[in-house]
Amino acid sequence: MITKFQVAYKNLLRKRIRSLLTLIGIALSAWVLVSLLGFNHGYETALNKDIDNMGFQLMMMAKGCPYEAATMMLKGGTGLKYMKESVVNDVAKEPEVEKTTPILMAAVFDPNKGESGGVAGYFGIEPKSFSQMKTFLKFKQGGWFTDENAYEAVMGYEAAELEQREVGDKTLIPEKNIEFKVVGILERTGTQDDGTIFIPLRTAQKVFGRPDEITTLGIKVKKGVDSTRLENKLSKLPDVQIVSLAEVKQTIMKLISTAKVMVLSIAIIAILIAMVGVINTILMSVHERFQEIGILKTIGAMPWDIFKLIWIETLILCTIGGVLGVGLALILSRVTGMVIRYVLPYAPIGGLVLIDLKLVLITIAVVLCIGLLSGLYPAWKAGRIRPLEAIRSNIG
């Protein structure tokens, strides 16, 4: 017994190049589609991770552009503004606040960083409150500073790698020419902390000439508390602004949505092109087999049988194309992520294109639906071929 599937499959092998080209078209559109969905999913996950890894939900900063402030926290940067350290006490008094951690950020130009120099980020911190916020920080070597006034540094994993430092080594702050002793090296976290050098807050204030000043106050809100109310209260304090990381996330997602619309448009166009390709291939194939289809009807095939036969051909093309496209997307997701990272103004750390089983299934289902829709007209046309007309014709 030969099945309809075998008949359809063998027919696709008849014009191998044409079937292959159609398949490539479907695979490419599936690739674009799953990568887009993966980006949608991956970017948000990575951004959430970035924000969660900050360890606090609110940041207090000196008045200025909130976006600049947010970007500074996420990416590091220059043009810092300062506020009085005394604000810590005002904030800690609020009943909604669980913990706070003051930070003095400093960015110093390091001529030895990279090929033409780069900005090295220093964070003056209080180890106790800082590590309580960032519970995921673990030491590869050593530990926190011995004293709050010590000239000691804890290096992020990448910062230590870059400068080839180990515990016990000295590190020099460029411009200031002050030596610090490396007392700890952190394990890789996959966050901005990997490239940062941490020094005691008091020492930082002295070295960078900012006594009793900080750039940022990280605020962890108590669980179940309405942070909007706290935000409103804190924003009444003079010369400071409150940046909610949830808002930062929303703002970044809004900025990214433009890029997403662009990519989605491309994906839709790719799918439409693939759809036209499928229709064309199957229609051509039906046209070429006009007589054959007529003969199938003389040997007992009902219109619905012919319809199914042609539909199965579409189904085979779309299934293989969809699986190939998804496979390609999975293999190349890192490359796609790198390209997106290059194009976008801000991209969080971590995989930007996250393709999970759900996305794979959704994409294959979409490709199949589109394929079946594309096959509808050719299959209907084939089903209507009358055997007599087919036998009389000279096509084929």
Binding site: M1, I2, T3, K4, Q6, V7, K10, N11, L13, R14, Q291, E292, I295, L296, K297, T298, I299, G300, A301, M302, P303, D305, R384, R386, P387, L388, I391
Partner: protein
Amino acid sequence: MSGNVISIEAINLTKVYFRGSEEIPAVNDVSLQINKGDFISIIGPSGSGKTTLVNLLGCLDNPTSGELSLAGRSIFNKGKRLSERDLTKIRRETFGYIFQNFYLIPTLTVMENVMLPLTFYRKPGTENEAVKLLQLLGMEHRKKHLPGQISGGEMQRVAIARAMVNMPEILLADEPTGNLDTKRSVEILKVLQELNRNIGLTVIMVTHNQELAQYAHRMFEMRDGQIYQIGNK
């Protein structure tokens, strides 16, 4: 070997084609009775209407007027037209067809081609007919070959096996030897003759070749859409 059971009966069967306002009667008032186990041949020049008649007899087309019944069952009468679906149902239960251009599926093997009708319909009581038929037609050794790898005569044998796989009552052969040389044509005619003799298959054959027409029990000639019996064995 004609029996007394009527296989096909056509009464005043007419098929008119229209070219613009001009009426062309391809089959004109043909009445014909074919018994079970009959082997008839229809000859005639091109355009005489022989293929149109066979198409009407084989339920490939609706007549313009007239009546047609198969084994006493009325198929067309009083201008009733059947849908393509109904025609297909009748065809697959009653007929097997072979044509001048064998119409084998090039991507399927000989065996797969023969079994193809079973993909769509299996007549109750038919089992392993494909293997038996290929043996009967001397094509078993070619069963794994593709149509492109066998000769024209062999292709027509495969087409016969395909037409016979659901054990039809009537085999319609429209110019079955039109693409074959004399030797192969005689071979095919002998195959049809054997099927007619051995299993009582009713055969209706259209041919240009008067010599090959002699293999039938009864010979008819079509002229200007009308039929005349010209020979009887």
